[in-house]
């Protein structure tokens, strides 16, 4: 992986943080930076394919503003990053195990597969690391 790669560890289920992760991932990916996003903890609940977009997120003042003003949904931004750039998304294998989920619980067009934290951290040694 290139040394300008961006690694995002997304743990929060708050709309504000998922929105920022999606914005960073999409913009970096289309700016010719390889991006990898590792989704774990409460964040993975937002990617449950059975949950409608309207009830997918929780959060504070900005979560409401983003919803009311129809800011782009984070899932759309992640997908744009994948379509237009080098963006890979990984589901934390521990979070899947804890939830008792298979990859089929998630939007499979977004995710590249399950991954362990050790592998993600190892890959991230060569790039920039952001936690949300």
């Amino acid at each position: 992986m290139a040394d300008n790669a961006l690694y995002i560890l997304l743990c929060s289920g708050e709309r504000e943080k998922i929105q920022m992760a999606a914005m960073m991932a999409a913009v970096a990916a289309v700016s010719e930076r390889p991006v990898q996003v590792f989704v774990s903890m409460n964040a993975i609940l937002a990617f449950d394919r059975s949950v409608p977009a309207a009830t997918r997120y929780y959060g504070g003042t900005f979560a409401k503003l983003l919803h009311d003003q129809k800011a782009p949904d984070p899932m759309v931004l992640f997908q744009q990053g994948k379509d237009l750039g080098d963006l890979k998304m990984w589901a934390c294998s521990m979070a899947l195990d804890i939830q008792g989920w298979e990859m089929s619980h998630l939007d499979e067009t977004l995710f590249d597969g399950p991954l362990g934290l050790t592998k993600f951290l190892s890959d991230a040694e060569s790039g920039q690391f952001v936690t949300l």
């Binding site: 914005m23 999409a26 913009v27 289309v30 700016s31 010719e32 003003q69 800011a71 782009p72 931004l77 744009q80 237009l84």
Partner: protein, 76 residues
């Protein structure tokens, strides 16, 4: 002969106008221009910076009535 395509991204929030520009650039020829109309203030700096980074040409930024016109020429 080069062509100009207008991307009306007025009302879209960051990074919407940039993403619409990039999607459009994929479908035009080298030398063609894309004129992005945006009400997002960030586009005024973000689109020229993106062009500089990925080696497209930002021809200019013009403030219109209530929006900005950011003209980009596909360079590669």
């Amino acid at each position: 002969m080069s062509e100009k395509v207008i991307v009306d991204a007025r009302g879209a929030f960051c990074p919407g106008p940039l993403m619409e520009l990039i999607a459009t650039l994929k479908n035009v020829a080298v030398g063609d221009e894309v004129d992005v109309w945006s009400t997002d203030k960030g586009s005024v700096t973000d689109i020229p910076e993106w062009c500089k980074k990925v080696k497209h040409e930002c021809v200019g930024v013009v403030e219109q009535q209530g929006y900005w016109s950011v003209l980009v020429r596909k360079a590669k």
